[in-house]
Symmetry: C3
């Protein structure tokens, strides 16, 4: 599955620096042990300064200089930043925000995925680049565009989006009667007589129909997929061989990454552990304080596993944080050692390349406070030595065998859109629900595979978790019915049809798997939790189960009402639990399945790889490895921000 | 006053269900003990699918089916949800929000009260319905429109509103000089030369003139009244007999409900105790947690008393919460018993009908997570049994004598607009101020009547409270002067003229009632409270009283500065007090008046009805009724969410 | 420097009151001891009710009445409130907010500084006034406009601003290539081909280039300066002698006050201690509670010192708070004595006049809840007696000798714009950083001079502090190199070029003063602080210093990493410290310099004036003055809200 020995790379912007510096930069990259360099992604204004007036000479020389120094090139297409002149040709290409305001030129991602004129312009420059560089001997990968959806750009409320959405609906539903039925438009007299009467779902008096929202989100996601496909097609006209990837962001769920990934050879993502902890985590302030300089111990791991799935096994970290970033509410310096540790964690999850962002800190423009491997004055930042160490260690380390993990966790982008549209409780977040399942599994020392809902074969897995899935497909039900492992469903799984209606037989809507009905649900304020008889708490969300007599109760509340239940190999969990609750639910199941688990402390994490294991210490104190019964390691303790290799004693 | 024995009803949407199900639904309603069914309120797109193409056949059959089963019909006019084709005729009928954005089609209440074209359309469909169903034997009531003002729709900043407002001002002031004088426009050079120069008060550089805001709010309220009058007129062309009501919301103060109520035979409102607690209460998180499954013990009671006044004695609960709703930040399940308790509390306040929302939970569209008496799969939800019990108990229970309570509390919508415009302290809320007076009275076990400021006769009352009244009318002063009971004024009462100016003789501006002046006021941050010598605290708001020598001091602070004072039968309270403070003020007055009071615990409430009394237990624990000295009950204790009947020992 | 004995004044609006009342008002002002009266500032609609139809008769009589009573007039030009008819002539004069919404007529400051048509209108009315009143015998001062920038009006995103900004950029950069280079527009393909392609920096997809923002802020500030210059020119056509001032606000930094001040003879500002504490302070709720009725003990003092610099030595308090205001979130009554104390503190800082806002509380319009010296019913408010006492005391008190303080603190408006644009940590505020340096100095009992960054001679100062300066000018470096005193730089000083790029040799970018480099910086969340070995804490911001061997370490963290260091007479502080940290840094330096310092308690403050000293008690308890070793006072203790005069024992 992993065709190359893992290696280390860097992001570089030759157009930001005097050409006289390029050779020296290349030389230092090689000396650091870097093998890949990403270039080109935002350089449109330098490649085509005026419409159809191209300037490739500088890029030719940059590629030659880097390539001749021994670096492989990943070339980015520049479509995330159309130059200013594009606005003269397509004044209406700008995205529009939910309040109806046009989002202007002057930063990046200033285009609307629905704008077909821009899509053609983007394909045009991509074609030109593919023709010129597709056969370049140093080219090893293409990156198409960059960070789709970043800065909330999947959803645009433009005229182009309105036209596209109506056509998309007409295709989906054929007749307006079908749409009215699917959306339940008889409610509140919302019935339409024609697709041309349908508006975008923003700016309604009170909330719009959730079916309306869900279809708009599907439409918007499809435009990202279609945009990407147009770029793939453009490259493949001239270059049939170089592999393609897109570089995704963290906790970005507005389009279906699996669908974009299906058209590409690999995935990559941006791993900013400190930025994400500050910016994208619901964890309490004490947790953020404890991991302020290390990042959340599970957030990156989940994304590694997610993007391994999006990349169908082939994936990179394209941008690895090397020091403070510029964009989080607070931007601290990482604990010494974390830059190396983050790299190793990615490698242990199967990354082909860990590429740092960026070679040298830019002294100008929006990201001037974003650290690089070099300071703006070209002196090394502290990260450089850690990257060098990582590169050396990688060369000496035997390859990891990447094979399926014992546990599968289904992640479904549509479910995120559904529950964002209809959280029912202010704190309900699909991403967070999945994350807390992931965290519990990882606290038990397990390795996890994230799987798309289109998975048809779970036979490799002992345990499959499907929390919060909005709606079933027949194929997913079939896959779960035929798998040999245990299946954990809920909370909220199967609670809607694909039209965003409550299913006739109520949630979880899968008599094929488990015979029960959710009679009633409730969302709970943060001030309220409910104890489980078995330990742990219910929070955020609770369901009232209507059960047949012979159902086994795995968890119940103090009133002995059933919370998690089991019928044969299928478990249904009718609540959002805290960490202890999920451990109470999952630990016995793992034991039954013969999986090696251990309750890890807050800051220690394992990655099990067959019989091998790596321990990562995210804590700021040393950890005594002899406490990890069932494992043996190459050292007796692991220092803060350090790691240890070992094996499972079995 | 109450012409019918109280009964139970339900809201039903035949257009949401297959016609084959109607008869069975009707049968089950009757078996549950329901006597009324509300239908039709959002069905315009089914009644008039295209302009002037009507389809009444289905509604004819629905009414017949329900009526023949034994149910009385309350028929809603569908004007809260104009169909999509209405926008082709009147593209400018949509409301505009305070930031200037048009609020689009796709939910409900998407019309502007100032739009005269839509007003005529609404009257047209209402006329057609009145003609067809006005003489229908099953029709028992008309409901005009639904929930005026919900989703912040009283105030619209549209072109239609601007035109209407200017004309309204011209009528009110005759000359622009009069307006300039009334508003004090010499301040900041705001003087106008013509009514046509006046804009709406939104989007000014800093806050607009409060007189400008108040007049705009009066204008907007008048449009609701005028819209409603046009509907009344439309019905009365064809049906002179069936009584009319409008269904109001909770804590909705943007229009003068008393004025709308004056044109109707009755009032009804939507009682959602759990949703309102989460969504519309300033109470601290501990209070919300304690009553999370019961609702605030006083919030519904206040509204019952308010809408009894709006309905001039005749009122319903039209929508009673049956389980979790979909719209509050968090939506928990009610404590078992509360569905019945809420119904009884309404009945004890004089409701003619308690109607539950809704018969069956809809599986589609915006309210699919709103519980009903039936689940979406037609099985009973837990509420159904409680409603059935209530219906049975009502049949057996002797009628309550509804007669005036001993205490009157004046509620004035204009004062709410005034203090929203000029709170002076961020936490000042007129509604909240009145509510805390209400709560204190109810903590003493008293029954209360809410009275409009237009009340001319308080002779039935021992005690009249007028907190926070913005401006006096001569008639109100006269009514208070001539009443025999005690009168409690303040804080902030009489602090403005009707033009929103400080009165010449300063607040409370009523030498006819009490001889004192408010020399100075202050608003207080939440971190600051001040102790009263007599017990209790000052919070939010304090006034400095300038008094003649012979004034008695009822409450003072630790510096012996007067806080509440008395001259003969008039008391003035120059501060916002906490609960203990209000009890210290009111308890001795009640004692002097011979009213039966008792200090109730947090969760217990009484409704005194002549010599009868009902005890409602909102707490989650059993309460020993023998602790209620002065009362005797039909049981020794009242369980959580239960009630007890008794009488006053006197 | 101070040409007049300090005196007391008041703001008065004759147009708000019947003419019959003027003479009595004037008489009472004189009896109170007031010597100055400010009038006219918002009276345009009364001076020019229709275009070019003037009405000066009333103002003639008002001036005569006031002047003949013995009062000196400060006459405000009315340009802060263009009358409604101005919109007919210039419909596009209205400012536009950052979201693109036009900010309408109906309050004040409804004009755009970029609108040249309005600038000419403003100059026209100013010219007319200067011609009529420039030689009036009672006129003592002109006030131009009022409170520039109040209500966020410096930055407007209008068409006029766009046109002006493009022209301003063309002047600044000459060629578009120079601009592209200065802004680093190669980043994200932001390069422009023409100045006409540049938009305003608002409403971009993600944040705009910080250089773009900084230039827009410079442009906007320049428009305020140019507007003011046009008014100066208009007055000087007819009146070459009467001194000019502008009345500034508190904590208003959107334009460069020093540049406006350069064109005027004096400065004045609005001192609202209670309003500012509630509205404009980051201090914790406990601090706000402790000083709720007194105001922050340092906030006004800093502004007094700042506006003394802006006024080049001549300055007033134009609006001194007399009681509760109307505009803060909460508006409490001042502690008895504070109205006098605030006046004395201003005088001790060198104010020529302390003028109270306003004579009589207006009963109408937006500020009707703003206290005055008289109540709306013309009775005295509590403040009147305190003002009278102050006026009497001033008459008897010998003049203060105002001479330079021993400490200079550089304040730079551009730095505020820079760090607002790029805080890097959510809590980074330039104003606050300077304020906390100021507070530490004042806690040591020191007097401080605020200096502009254009200062060329610091020879009068023992100690010069330059915290957070964005970018050096050669002249400032030269001034600091040649001064004899100690110089304290940092945090963040010299970290940018004037183009908003990181300097080639990194911060602090001043080898002329100190030889070190900031290798790395971090911003810190509020939950995180780091202890200093010497006492005190690091918070908000920390830098990692790269130092030569021979640098002395003044402060370090527990890991012995250098935080504050010294080379010869220059100290660099690489962190934001808490109060104790700054005291640890500054106290030994003061000791070395022979400055008299003492650690004052929370609520006591000193103003040292040569050998004299005044003690101000902002606390709500009496303070024993014998605890202030090194000083002797005219009394043994100072009561809450009182002051004491004394001298330094040396
Ligand atoms: Zn990136
Ligand atoms: Zn409703
Ligand atoms: Zn002012």
């Amino acid at each position: 599955m992993n065709p190359m020995k893992p290696s280390v790379g860097v992001c570089y912007y030759p157009e930001h620096w005097p050409e006289t510096q390029w050779a020296d930069d290349a030389q230092r990259m090689v000396e650091t042990g870097l093998q890949w360099v990403r270039i080109g992604e935002f350089a449109w204004s330098r490649l085509e300064p005026q419409p159809n007036q191209f300037n490739f000479a500088w890029l030719d020389r940059a590629i030659a200089t880097l390539g001749q120094a021994g670096l492989k090139i990943i070339l980015g297409t520049p479509t995330a930043t159309p130059p200013r002149w594009m606005l003269e040709k397509h004044p209406d290409l700008l995205p529009v925000d939910q309040t109806g305001r046009v989002r202007g030129f002057g930063s990046r991602r200033h285009y609307d995925f629905s704008h077909l004129g821009y899509r053609e312009e983007a394909a045009r420059i991509t074609r030109v680049l593919a023709e010129r560089y597709g056969q370049n001997p140093y080219l090893g990968f293409w990156q198409i565009d960059n960070e789709y959806s970043c800065h909330d750009t999947t959803l645009s409320y433009s005229a182009a989006a309105l036209v596209g959405f109506r056509a998309w609906l007409a295709t989906r539903y054929s007749t307006i009667e079908t749409l009215n039925q699917a959306w339940g438009n008889v409610f509140w007299s919302m019935e339409y007589a024609d697709f041309a009467e349908i508006d975008l779902p923003n700016l309604t008096v009170t909330e719009a129909n959730p079916s309306h929202w869900l279809d708009f989100r599907r439409y918007a996601s499809d435009q990202v997929v279609a945009f990407n496909q147009a770029m793939v097609k453009a490259i493949r006209e001239f270059d049939q061989n170089t592999p393609l990837l897109h570089n995704y962001m963290g906790r970005t769920t507005d389009f279906d990454h699996f669908k974009v990934g299906n058209d590409l050879e690999a995935a990559s993502w941006d791993s900013y552990p400190l930025g994400f902890l500050e910016d994208r985590s619901e964890d309490p302030v004490e947790w953020k304080l404890a991991f302020m300089r290390q990042g959340d111990p599970d957030f990156q791991a989940l994304h590694h596993d997610l993007y391994r799935a999006v990349g169908k096994g082939r994936w990179w970290v394209m941008e690895q944080q090397p020091g403070p970033v510029n964009w989080a509410p607070f931007n601290p310096v990482p604990l010494a050692g974390m830059v190396r540790l983050w790299g190793w964690e990615a490698i242990a999850h199967g990354a082909e390349v860990v590429s740092y962002f960026r070679w040298r800190q830019a002294p100008f423009a929006q990201e001037q406070m974003h650290a690089g491997l070099l300071r703006p004055d070209s002196e090394p930042s502290r990260a450089l030595a850690e990257v060098k160490q990582l590169a050396q260690e990688l060369k000496q380390h035997p390859d990891f065998t990447t094979k399926p993990a014992p546990v599968a966790l289904v992640f479904d982008y549509e479910s995120d859109w559904a529950w964002t549209t209809q959280p029912q409780g202010k704190t309900f977040s699909y991403f967070r629900l999945v994350f807390e399942h992931y965290r519990a599994l990882r606290r038990l020392g397990l390795s996890i595979d994230i799987c798309p809902p289109s998975t048809t074969d779970f036979s490799a897995y002992s345990l499959v978790l499907v929390p919060g899935l909005m709606a079933w497909t027949q194929s997913l039900k079939a896959a779960l019915q035929t798998t040999k492992g245990l299946v954990v469903l809920g909370a909220r799984t199967g609670s809607k049809t694909r039209d965003f209606q409550i299913p006739n037989c109520l949630a979880p809507d899968c008599p094929e798997l488990i015979n029960l009905k959710i009679a009633q649900v409730e969302s709970l304020p943060p001030s309220y939790t409910e104890e489980l008889l078995q330990g742990g708490l219910i929070k955020n969300w609770r369901e009232y189960l209507s059960l047949p007599q012979d159902t086994s109760i795995l968890l119940s509340n103090l009133k002995h009402e059933p919370i998690a239940v089991r019928q044969n190999k299928v478990i249904y969990c009718g609540a959002w639990l805290d960490l202890e609750g999920y451990l109470q639910l999952l630990e016995p199941l793992c034991h039954e399945l013969g999986l090696t688990t251990i309750r890890l402390p807050d800051g220690l994490r394992l990655r099990q790889l067959g019989q091998g294991v790596v321990a990562f210490n995210y804590a700021s104190e040393t950890y005594d490895l002899s406490l990890l019964t069932g494992f043996s390691f190459d050292k007796t303790e692991v220092k803060a921000a350090d790691l240890a290799f070992g094996r499972i004693l079995k």
